[in-house]
Amino acid sequence: MWRAELALLFRRTRTQALLGVLALVPIVVASAVRFSGGGAQPGEGPQFLDQLTHNGVFAALVGLTVTLPFFLPLAVAVVAGDAIAGEANLGTLRYLLTRPYGRTRLLLHKGAVLVAFCVIATCVVAIAGIIAGAILFPIGPVTTLSGTTLSLTAGTIRIFAAAAVVGGSLLGLAAIGLFISTLTDAPVGAMAATAGIAVLSGVLDAIPQLHAIHPWLLTHYWLTFGDLLRSPVRWTAITKNLLLQAGYMLVFITAAWARFTTKDVLA
């Protein structure tokens, strides 16, 4: 049954448009670098940009770096905020529940679809990046951040592992969005609130005086996915990130469940 939820989401023009925009980002960045002539110097521009001219597959990593602060959380906020509030707004929620589609079951399926969306969205960025990179630049063995070299296959596997980790970084936000989505019948409000929380987290993370709370912020470890491109892989920050996201999921999915299974469905 959750496959039907998945089909519903991906058949929607809005979802396709979101994924289209995400795919466009690495293509635009790679084209810009290619046609402006000069590559970037190390330390200049987004993470991995300096490597792009030597190896096209890095367009995937640049794409992930560039979409992570804004486009990806926005896409997740749209899909998560819509999860329950969108059904309520259309009125379909009352018909799903009287089929009956148990409330817990519906919430779990919506959650599963969100997880799938997070991973699919990041993979779309990675795939679009690799394709654009392969067309515009030479590709070959991947030089890691530690200076060692991986075969193209091993490097590509690392890149998809990075995409998966970025997808995992978004799960906390997705859970928050799902919870907010159970609070209202107005999907746009839920989307805006969810996106607002991602932005707020980023802002707080940038204020040095608040360093005590930084390790608990949703977005704190987001850009650490680059550690996968070290040799050997440096797992510390990635593990912390995934544990933090799991914690957010536990709290907010429980809250969403408590709210959704008891609320009056009036829409």
């Binding site: 049954m1 039907a4 058949r11 009352r94 529940l97 009287t98 009956p100 009056d264 469905v265 009036l266």
Partner: protein
């Protein structure tokens, strides 16, 4: 799957005769009781009209019946089991149309039905396509099945909503204003559909403000106003709560009124050349004869059986304003 210990209670056999039974059902929003101590009893196999002015609490009641809204007090038994505890067992046998149809605008009618069908607890995937086609044909939507719901007219949307309610064999149909926005043919088809479903043995709860609709298809009815039940029972007995009135058109209203009064008629009213009065136990033909014998010039004599409308207006008031 939940067990339902209530079903073993001594009152269980009596419940079989009732498809819907609410006891003291109450819903308060803020301070106001929108549904107030409602004891609704819908006999199994009946076509039951649930009548009430706008805002009287019909939809809220239906939401409580279906477990969408938690009652503030009271209980609901649907098909002999208590709701919402037994929702997973009861609801697969209940088709619903609550406060208008609702579908995904970006999917076709067919895809919408397919999704709704798949949301059930027992998907029966292999026969899904046939079931969806049959439901579409039943409401006359086969030709528009592959258009997006966005492009449907109000009446087509309503039809699709009914198709969703009829996707599977149901022992109870709960329809909230099913003919809203439909053309006259559509309205008639819905009536026929309801009759056909009822003939197959299903119970139908038809929520409506259209009295004629209820009069034409229902065997029973309940009238609700301001959240309170003011009458329920077989249609005949509801009509009888209001008396038959006779109306005489005459040039001598004074004498006519006197004759009717002498016969013991009540609520005598004179308006222009018309005198009307409520029969108690007198037969209309005797009244007419008495008038003629008393030399009243009778231009016309009408005896009107009360319609459901009379009962309805008497119980809910004439006012046009939404009660609250």
């Amino acid at each position: 799957m939940q067990t339902d210990p209530m079903n073993l209670a001594p009152d269980a056999p009596a419940d079989d005769a009732l498809a819907i039974r609410t006891t003291g059902l109450t819903k308060r929003f803020g301070g106001t009781a929108v549904v107030d101590d409602l004891n609704l009893q819908v006999p199994t196999g009946s076509v039951f009209g649930f009548l009430g002015p706008n805002g009287s609490g019909k939809t809220t009641t239906i939401r409580m019946l279906l477990g969408l809204v938690n009652p503030s007090a009271g209980s609901v038994r649907l098909l002999g089991r208590s709701m919402p505890e037994a929702a997973n067992r009861v609801l697969p046998n209940v088709g619903t149309l609550v406060e208008g149809p609702a579908f995904y605008p970006w999917l076709s009618g067919r895809r919408n039905l397919t999704r709704i069908d798949a949301a059930g607890p027992d998907p029966l995937r292999t026969t899904r396509a046939d079931r969806v086609d049959a439901a579409l044909a039943q409401v006359g939507l086969s030709a528009a099945a592959d258009k997006r719901y966005r492009a449907y007219s109000l009446g087509m949307r309503q039809r699709l909503g009914l198709a969703a309610a009829l996707l599977r064999p149901r022992s109870l149909l709960i329809l909230d204003e099913p003919t809203n926005g439909m053309d006259p043919q559509g309205t008639r088809e819905i009536r026929n559909l309801i009759r056909a479903v009822a003939a197959d043995g299903a119970t139908v709860l038809l929520c409506s403000h259209l009295l004629s609709e209820v009069e034409q298809v229902c065997t029973h009815a309940a009238i609700i106003t301001l959240g309170r039940l003011v009458a329920q029972g077989p249609l005949e007995s509801l009509r009888e709560t209001t008396t038959t009135r006779v109306t005489v058109e005459t040039d001598d209203t004074e004498r006519a009124a006197a004759v009717l009064e002498r016969l013991g008629l009540m609520q005598i009213a004179v308006a222009g050349a018309l005198v009307s009065a409520a029969l108690d136990s007198q037969r209309p033909e005797d009244c007419c004869k008495a008038l003629v014998l008393a030399d009243v010039g009778v231009r016309s004599f009408v005896s009107r059986r009360p319609s459901l409308e009379d009962t309805y207006v008497e119980l809910t008031g004439e006012g046009f304003d939404v009660a609250r």
